[in-house]
């Protein structure tokens, strides 16, 4: 039994029955980290002593009958922008190499209270401002399915560590696709919950109105388990929603008979790699065979939504980082610096027009969901490209990698609706493909239900990279 490739659900059942102990689980994962790092470069800060100590405490608690729940004793990683009291938080920049927060982010605190064991802080695109997982300060992250290739970003370390079995699951953040893109490129399940569902308190900001924290895991069930532990109102986050929180695992076993799945035609009007399109269309077809009704629909503002989302993102990121940019611009990743400086050229009128357009897009998104329960489409239109690649060829079109990676994830950052990516195939050269399901605001349960039904009917999520190590 390879503890490193069991899901959190599987490990927790073993821990609860006392067939394995948290100490064994954490030891196995630390050995895995030792075997795989630094080549994957998933971690910025590793916490082996602290993790072993927490594992011993968890073992003692469980032995004495104080079982906290399914995350008790589960080794996790946090993207290095979730504050953890006493642990440095770099946000992927050497400027913050020695910054140690004196308080916990709400999510770090909730995960600790649930008994999860923090193995370390995970590498990311600098300030979460880029979708490839390249980082000149702490080194590029690598895709465990092919280490010459990008894992995607910005939560690249979270994806590579989870996909390679260095941690059971991880937390990422998603402002333009930064959970879903690396999850798709590394063969994981990644959930961006509804804006407001999970607290942003204690996270480094990229864009106040589009930052979404969420889980990245190897199964849909694991995402649901994390949601059960961390979802809920937090008065310290101004955008936190005071909504009732369901048991997200409840819907996982429900069938999808009669579920209405809308397939907007617009994502397929953009260039999509033929292999990716093949797998995504097969996935949608399978949802139909499982009982869902499939409806081709149109989403008129879909194409415009990407420019609207990025205008808002760039203005907010520049506002947040303005002092840093002025004082330490030369120490920033040059590409991140360009993005931040470009944000200065967005006028107040541009920003407000984008926020007006956002309301229109939001209303249009709500209208779509009057007739469907889920929307389906590609997560990313390509598989992982080689590190350093600027452009790729899709059919007759040559396109920039960065806009390609974010083009189908951004719309759900703009409207704030929940969206998940699930593995749905592997290319001829062995690279994962993901497809995306999105739902109504605060209806993560249906998103998870659709994703789980698909996952249970396929075996893509059972494939593992780097199994010889």
């Amino acid at each position: 039994m390879n503890l490193c490739y069991l899901s959190a659900g599987e490990v927790s059942r073993l821990i609860r029955k006392r067939e394995v102990s948290p100490v064994e689980v954490v030891k196995a994962h630390l050995a895995r980290v030792e075997a795989l790092e630094p080549p994957l470069n998933s971690f910025i800060t590793l916490l082996p002593e602290q993790a072993m100590e927490e594992a011993r405490v968890a073992e003692h608690e469980i032995e004495s009958g104080q079982y906290r729940g399914p995350l008790h004793g589960i080794p996790i990683g946090l993207k290095d922008l979730f504050y953890v009291k006493g642990v440095r938080n770099t946000s992927g920049s050497k400027i913050f190499d020695h910054f140690i927060p004196d308080y916990d982010s709400t999510l770090a605190l909730k995960l600790r209270e649930a008994g999860a064991i923090l193995l370390g802080k995970l590498n990311l695109h600098q300030f979460a401002y880029g979708p490839t997982g390249e980082n000149p300060d702490y080194g590029n992250m690598h895709n465990p399915w092919d280490t010459e290739r990008i894992p995607g970003g910005s939560s690249g370390g979270s994806a590579s560590a989870t996909a390679s079995g260095q941690c059971t699951l991880a937390m990422g953040t998603d402002t333009g696709g930064s959970i879903r893109i690396p999850s798709a490129l590394c063969g994981l399940v990644g959930l961006k919950p509804t804006y407001g569902r999970l607290s942003r308190y204690g996270m480094t900001v990229l864009s106040w109105s589009q930052d979404h924290p969420g889980p990245m895991a190897r199964t849909v069930e694991d995402c649901a388990l994390v949601m059960n532990a961390v979802a809920g109102y937090d008065p310290r986050d101004s955008s936190s929603a005071n909504k009732s929180v369901p048991d997200f695992t409840q819907s996982l076993t429900e069938n999808i008979k009669g579920l209405r799945v809308g397939v907007p035609k617009e994502p397929f009007e953009d260039p999509v790699d033929s292999e990716v399109e093949h797998f995504v269309r097969n996935a949608i077809e399978l949802l139909g065979k499982l009982g869902a009704t499939i409806h081709e629909i149109s989403w008129p503002l879909y194409h415009e939504s990407k420019a609207i989302a990025s205008t808002i993102l760039m203005a907010e990121a520049t506002a947040y980082h303005s002092q840093l940019m002025k004082r330490q611009g030369s120490r920033l990743d040059p590409k991140v610096r360009l993005r931040l400086e470009a944000g200065l050229l967005i006028s107040a009128v541009d920003y407000l027009q984008a926020q007006r357009a956002r309301r229109l897009f939001y209303q249009q998104s709500c209208d779509l969901f009057k007739n469907v329960d889920l929307l389906a489409g590609p997560t990313v239109p390509i598989t992982a490209c080689n590190i350093g690649t600027e452009e790729v060829q899709i059919g007759n079109t040559r396109m920039g990698v960065i806009p390609l990676l974010t083009q189908h994830t951004r719309p759900y950052n703009l409207n704030g609706f929940p969206a998940i990516t699930v593995p749905c195939g592997f290319s001829r050269n062995g690279l994962p493909v993901g497809f995306q399901l999105a739902g109504k605001p605060f209806d993560e349960a249906t998103v998870l239900r659709g994703a789980s039904a698909y996952e249970q009917a396929t075996e893509w999520h059972q494939r593992r990279p780097l199994t010889s190590k």
């Binding site: 880029g130 009732s244 415009e304 420019a307 360009l338 009128v349 027009q353 956002r358 806009p403």
Partner: protein
């Protein structure tokens, strides 16, 4: 009494009145970079003028060596039309979504 001109008209005039900031170019335009590649369907699109960019850069405190400003201009020039996409939409009676607060139950 005549009715006020539609918002798009006002917007277009505003740009015409400030020719040093930007100038109109025929579509289609394909943007690049972080913003994403957008098929622009506006009849006219806006492009950042280099001279205007340089003076704005100075005002914004971006005085740097020429090569950096050149790189920034090349980058921003491609993105600039995307910043104007929302302004080209029909947003009559639409208020900005300044904080995304989703409806309560």
């Amino acid at each position: 009494m005549t009715s006020p001109p539609p918002p798009n008209h006002i917007r277009f005039r505003a740009f015409v009145l400030h020719p040093t900031w930007c100038r109109a170019l025929p579509s289609p335009f394909k943007g690049e970079g972080w913003v994403g590649e957008e098929e622009d369907e506006m009849e006219k699109i806006i492009r950042l003028d280099k001279e205007a960019f340089l003076s704005m850069a100075k005002v914004l405190g971006l005085e740097e060596e020429d090569s950096h400003l050149e790189e920034l201009y090349t980058y921003v020039e491609k993105l600039f039309p995307n910043f104007k996409v929302a302004g080209g939409m029909d947003l009559k009676e639409i208020e900005p979504m300044l904080i995304l607060v989703l409806p309560k139950e």
